[in-house]
Symmetry: C2
Subunit: 254 residues, 2 copies
Amino acid sequence: MDQSLFTGPPAVINGITPAPERARTSIEETYLSLRQEILNGALPQGSKLHLEGLRARHGISTTTVREALTRLIGDRLVVAEGQKGFRVAPMSLADLEDLTYARMQIECLALADSVRHGDDEWEVRVVAAYHRLGITEDRLRAAPALHFDTWERQNMEFHAALVSGARSQWLERMRMILFHNSERYRRLSATKGPPPLKVRDEHTAIFEAAIRRDAEAAVEAMRVHIERAFNVIKSAHLLPESGGGAALPTSRNA
Amino acid sequence: MDQSLFTGPPAVINGITPAPERARTSIEETYLSLRQEILNGALPQGSKLHLEGLRARHGISTTTVREALTRLIGDRLVVAEGQKGFRVAPMSLADLEDLTYARMQIECLALADSVRHGDDEWEVRVVAAYHRLGITEDRLRAAPALHFDTWERQNMEFHAALVSGARSQWLERMRMILFHNSERYRRLSATKGPPPLKVRDEHTAIFEAAIRRDAEAAVEAMRVHIERAFNVIKSAHLLPESGGGAALPTSRNA
DNA sequence: AATTTGGATAATATCGATTTTATTGCGGCG
DNA sequence: CGCCGCAATAAAATCGATATTATCCAAATT
């Protein structure tokens, strides 16, 4: 699975731990670096991505910058207009609503399949990821700033482990795109403080249902988890309404 | 909807041709051209995409070729390996199975939402697209070779119209990627002859259910449609069981 | 005052060439 | 015989520069 959004080399047989993230080519290096900056907001939504500026900052050629940016288009983190260059993909409340809806559908599909068909190794991965995340969450309460990045990575890995038993590569690719885009919104409201206790509870609910192979319960817990995350961001009032997209019901499919 | 996968000319969302939408930049031109060749098999799965060859053939610079190819990576029609360049994304029966599954999930989600929430304009679009497709199908029986490309376009437009009432842009993006990839498989087995009568019947079933606002029936009909398409391709025995197009000798087309 | 026009400026798109990395073929050596 | 290393070659990645296109602003026109 050497997909664009998934970093690094063949990313470990068992699906977890994108780990070292070495970048062998300088395009990839730039790609990863830029993605990071977009996800954490260093490059704010809608901002122009000037070739010359990026070239200078990264010490590479404009051609290389262009290619890195083009790869980010595939991840829907960057948009390109006619002859007007690149910019960071815009964000809006309407877009978040839509994104949340889409992600809920896909993540839940994958989770259900994963819970139903995950093998022993899958179980082990889930337990490991859950436990590891728990450790970091404890540390996070003591020293938030110190372990924040670690938490974010392990949070992502926990979610990845949960669905790693699902058999559809295509769904996984779609999930990854949606997950990363959600991540960008989540970090908008992330206060760099300890995550609310609720998050831990929600993870626990998903985890326990998954391990006891109760697909429906796991899916329901995942829905709650995703929906609450949406509400947190929404009520932070950091987003423009615009985007034109009609409001979507983010709740269950009818 | 200025999406990467959505090709230009006949977007035809409301029946009237919107704008020529010609490819203004030479990267886009190359992108569209290459995509076409990949979809119709002129560039077979797994084949190496040599920069120099493409540069010469398209009369552009390697840099431009690279960027067009990078955009195709976002559509999952091309894969890039480390320092080994680009190749056409491999096909396999396993991949088709997976792809069909994923597409069924997403296309059906979109269809259900569309049928439930499509407005009058949506209905008009569906009726128009269905009727237009019907006309072409009649002509196709008389002179297959002549109208084949038209049929393919209108078939895609019919499916697009069906889900055009769905409100999720994100789901639509995912659907588009999956649809195009399916298209590549379908054309593997397309005989350039008239499409089986069954296809017409299936389209009719979907169409009628959609217009009478019966979401469940429409989804069921869509499932049948997608699944049969899968079986047709599968029984054509044109695909390797699993991944990896064996190293085809470098396609050297003039 | 608003719109248009022309030229200067800035940014992007594209090119041709160089550097870096993979692949291939061929002798030597175990 | 078959494996290993080493040149020679081919290809990809990257660069620096040129060609195109958009943007801005001021002067001119109505």
